[in-house]
Each structure stands twice: as C-alpha cells, then as structure tokens.
Amino acid sequence: MGKLEVGIVGCGNIFNLAHKPALKHMECIKVTACADIDEERAKEGAKFFNARAFQSLDEFFDLDFDVVEILTPTYTHAEIAIKALKAGKHVIVEKPIALTTEEAERMIKTAEKEGLKLFVGHVRRFDKRWVQMKDIIKKRNILPMHIRKTEVQNLPFPAHYWYWDESKSGGVALDLGVHVTDFLRWFFESSPIEVLGVGKAIKEEAKTNNTFDHFIMMIKFEGGKTGIAEVSWAYPYPARYGVFYHHVDVIGKNGRIRYTPLDTPVVGVAKANFEMPRFSPLLSTFPDAFERELRHFFDCIKNDTEPAVTAHDALIALKIAEKAKESARKGEVVRL
C-alpha cells in the first residue's frame, strides 16, 4: 500500500493548532483535499498541503481519497461522518464523537455496515504524561480506587462563538467532559454505574447562553471506584493566555500519584502581571500527542487493526457526560 490520501473537513482552530503541524511531516500520508464552509480557510489549508480546496462537501467526497479528518464543530460530526462513510472513506473525527449518543451510535453502525474504520480523536490517550502515568499504575500495581481529574481553562472565545452554544458544542460538560470521562474509564479499567452532575454558570458568556461553564461529575465505577471530574471554562486565568490546566490525583490500594501543572519543571514568568507557566502552544496537550494519535490511526487503517481507543470507547465517554448533564438538570443521580 502506498501513501494514504487524506481529506480534511474543517480548517479552523483545531486544524491550525494541532492537525496541520502533526500531518506536515508525516511521510505515510498525503493531504489531497481541504474543505471548509469559509472559502478563505479552505484555500489556506489547501495551499499549505498543496491540495485542492472545497466549499461543497458533495464535490469534496466525490474525490477519490482514503480517509477523511473531520475537524468541524461537534454538532456537524454525525452528518459529515455518515456522509463520508457512505462515500467509502475511513473517518477520523475530533472528540466528542458527536453531540448525542444517538448520533454516535448511528455513526458506529454506518462504519460497521460499510466495513470502514471510524476513529475518534481522544488525544489524552496519546499524551505522554497520561500514558506514562497509566504505565506506572500498572507496573507498580497501584490499583486506583479514587481518581480526581481536572481540566480547566478560561475559554478565550466571545459569547457568540459556537463553543458557548450548547446545541452546537454540548457545553463544557460534553466538550471537555468526554476527555475526563474517557480518562477515568481508561485508568480504572472498569465500567461506570451511575453519575451525579452539578453545574454552574459563572462567566457572562455562560449566563447569556444559558449553559454551564463549570461542571463537576462524581462517577461511581464497578468495584467501588470513584471518579471525580471537574471541567471548567470559567477559571480566572488571564484570558489573553488561554491557559489550560490538568490536575490528577490517583489514590489506590498501593499508593498515590498526583500531578499538578507546577509539579513539572516549567519556566514561570513573573512580571508586573503574573503570567502562568505554559507547556505548549496547544495549551491542552503536546503537539506530539496529536502526531502520535494520527500515526496510530493511519497504521490501523493500513494494517486493518484495532485502535488503542475505539469509537465505542468514545461513545461511552459521551454517554457518561450526557448522563451527567441529565443529572445536573434533574438534580439527582442518573444510572448508566
């Protein structure tokens, strides 16, 4: 098999920040087409890869390539993915897999029916911090029973941006929530039983959009394990820097592992205004995590093998987050 030909749908933030630089030096693939509803963005992306630019998805999918990367807002994932699968393309879609589990299930069924691969970009599974941590947990037999994972930032986008529109992004409980629910399931190696969700609207952007920007989940997993997820777009970090932080606290039968951003050697900058240290231009993870993720997915396509994180994993991550939102709305615990 020669080089995989890749088409990109959605040439916005996550494309420019993460996928474009990751794909740039990948010798096993070639990006042949870039589509975006914004003509300029499509052209810019296409120019970078010396590929063809599209505004129309129908024309884009008529083109003969192997795999499509869907990097559009969450609410469009299902429609585009199903269209791509029906057009005979393998699919790599950004997380969350879709806006609803119903959509996600249709995507998975379509992929099965068409005999094509469907991958979801749960990039945390390729982040060397968490990969190493999971490795240490196994090697040292930590046996985690209580894990708290926090992913917090001050979302730097204005109120009209799609992230704040719950009907487009699912809100913070879904958008960041799926990262944490998947992380907890990955680390516990256990199934979720029930979830309590509690949300708050702290920033004006959240209040005007009638959505939460700070969300807590307490998830009971089989075997008496407790997962605590905290996701926030409302952390009062200086918005200019858009800093994004993770905290992890794993308490197990045979030890404890903690991670805070300041445990890692970084360059802190003290000026007239304190500037939080930051790790990478991506804020949430490292550039090489995306590269590792995409290489892995491309290998799975070439060798017809199962990925480290499946569409089904993504579906469960979404289901937990969805039930947590339901719990917050009802004010009671929801079973999974």
Partner: protein, 337 residues
C-alpha cells in the same frame, strides 16, 4: 495572670498528645491532671509524669477534683456524651474532641447539659485556625478574587491512625465506637472550614464514602459534593487515603475559585523536609492547636463566646451524617439547617 487549670480525659484520641503539650506550654493554662480512661491508659500515665500532672485512673475522680476548671475530652467518640454530660454536671468547661457525638440526639443532650450547668462547650476544628486559610479568607472577603463560586478541598486526608506507633488506635476501626471510619474522623474539619469560608450552609449533599483503600471494616475515604444556599459548590475529599510513604503527616489543600481569581492553598502548616529512605515533612509549628487552646481558655477566663459552639458542631455532624446517608442510598440528601 490567672492560669486555667486543665484536665485531659483519656488518650484514646491521638490528639491528646498535642493538646497536652500545647496546654502545658500555654501562658494562660496549666495542665493540672490527666485521666487514663479508654485506650492508651499507659500513655496517659506516662504523659502525666512527663508534665507533672496528677494522674487519675478514671475521669470521675478527675471531675471530682475541685481544682480542675476545664477539661479536654479525647475519649472514644461513643463515650463523648456520657463524659461531657458528667463534666458539665461537675461545672467543668469543656473542650470536646470531634465529632461531638454519635447522633444528633446525643449532641443535643451534650449541648443542653452545658447550657444547664452554665459551662463553655467548644469543639476543635483545625483548618480555620491555620494561617494560609485565614489569609485566604481575608483575601476572599476583601474581594480579591471576586465572588466565591467553587471550592475544592482535601481536608483532611491522613494516614490511617492505626499506623501511629506506640498508640492503640483499634477503636477507630469499630463503627460502634467511632461512628465511622476515615470520613467520620477527618471530614468534620473540612466541613467546618467550608461553612466558615462560605458563610453559608449546604442545602444538599451527595457523597461516596467507602472502605476503598485499606480493606478496613470501616470506610477509609470519602468525597462529598455540597451545594450551598448561597450558590457555592464545594467538593470535599477526606479520610485516611494516604499511603505510608506520603511525606506529609496530614494533607490540607484548598482551591478557592472566584469569578476574578483563584487561591491555591497547598498546605496548612509551616514545614521543613527531611530526606532519608523517603522524604518527610516536619511541621515546626502548629498554630491551629495553639489558637484553639488559647481561644477556649480566654473564652472561659473572660466569659466570652467560644469560636465553635456545640450548635456549630451539631450542624457539622448533621452534614456528615447526611453524607453517609447519601453514600448508602446513592441519592442526594437535602438538609434543613
């Protein structure tokens, strides 16, 4: 200045050791006598010798000593009610180890006995007397981080008391004596600090508390989600979840998130670190215990209000018991405090 004559009843609770040394060093209190009821009677006796205090085999004799004006009660929790009521009847002012009692009814009886006999009753919850948290509260109230929205607290997470050397801590593992395991032991501290920081009370609590880490017959770690009347949400983890190798003796951490900033309170006490087979933090000061003793002593000597009353401790217990109920039923529990 007059010194308050203190008696310590029982060394069942390991805090007795710290309170004894703090009382002994106080300029306004004298460690007058110690009784050896309950567990660690030998330790109590040795301590009496060390501090030149009178030793009584049982608390009744200590209470009959007319020179004793106040008592610190560190007996097993299930005997709090019995001993506290007797102390009140004998006219002794009471500093009572937490939790106040096993049940809310028992707590009421203790409170009533203190009122009836006109003695002070105070409960010692530590975090609010630690310097970093006092500073954090000052900053919150000065508006430095805007309106307080969310608190994440680990308060306190310790190593199981049975790891303490030279002390018999078995009663902590007997729910009939302790009322619960790690969460019952340490969460009251965290709860008190949350009420103090938020200046509010929770209207609902959800918790998951269990024997997760060590396989004890009682719970060793728990986490509660508290929804306060004023809209603040708090997540509190407490218990005995730390491994033997954890470098701090006890862990107190707070993340206070306001609309315009956050405060990261990483530890409660000033320490230095000793490195041998493992790193160990040594606290070179415990201003919290000193403050608790001083405030109690001054409340007695000057007839002032105690900073933490029996009613405060009863509310605290109500929240703790609601958390246990939630953990058992798997549902949120509403509180009417």
């Amino acid at each position: 200045m007059k010194k308050l004559n203190f008696g310590i009843i029982s060394y069942a609770h390991p805090h007795a050791i710290r309170y004894a040394s703090t009382i002994a060093q106080s300029r306004r209190a004298k460690l007058h006598s110690i009784s050896g009821d309950g567990a660690n009677s030998d330790v109590a006796k040795g301590e009496a010798k060390k501090y030149g205090a009178k030793f009584y085999r049982n608390y009744e004799d200590l209470l009959k000593d007319e020179n004793v004006e106040a008592v610190y009660i560190a007996i097993e929790t299930y005997r709090h009610k019995e001993v506290a009521i007797r102390a009140a009847e004998e006219g002794k002012h009471i500093l009572l180890e937490k939790p106040i009692a096993l049940t809310l009814d028992d707590a009421d009886e203790v409170i009533k006995a203190a009122e009836k006999n006109d003695v002070k009753l105070m409960l010692p919850f530590n975090p609010r007397f630690t310097d970093p948290l006092i500073k954090a509260k000052e900053m919150v109230e000065a508006g430095e981080i805007g309106a307080l929205e969310y608190i994440h607290a680990i308060s306190e997470n310790v190593k199981p008391p049975i790891f303490l050397q030279g002390l018999n801590m078995e009663w902590f593992l007997d729910v009939r004596k302790s009322g619960g395991g790690g969460f019952m032991d340490t969460a009251p501290h965290g709860i008190d600090s949350l009420l103090w920081l938020t200046k509010s009370l929770p209207k609902r609590v959800y918790a998951d508390i269990g024997a997760k880490i060590y396989g004890f017959p009682v719970d060793d770690i728990g986490t509660a989600v508290l929804e306060f009347k004023n809209g603040i949400i708090a997540v509190l983890t407490a218990g005995w979840g730390n491994p033997k190798g954890y470098s701090y003796g006890l862990e107190i951490k707070y993340y206070l998130v306001g609309r315009e900033g956050f405060l990261d309170v990483r530890t409660a006490y000033p320490d230095f670190t000793v490195y041998q087979d493992r790193a160990e933090k040594i606290y070179w000061d415990r201003p919290d215990v000193r403050a608790i003793v001083e405030k109690f002593v001054m409340a007695v000597l000057k007839d002032r209000e105690v900073p933490i009353s029996g009613e405060d401790a009863k509310k605290n217990l109500a929240i703790i018991l609601a958390a246990y109920e939630s953990s058992t039923t798997g549902k949120k529990v509403s509180l009417s405090l």
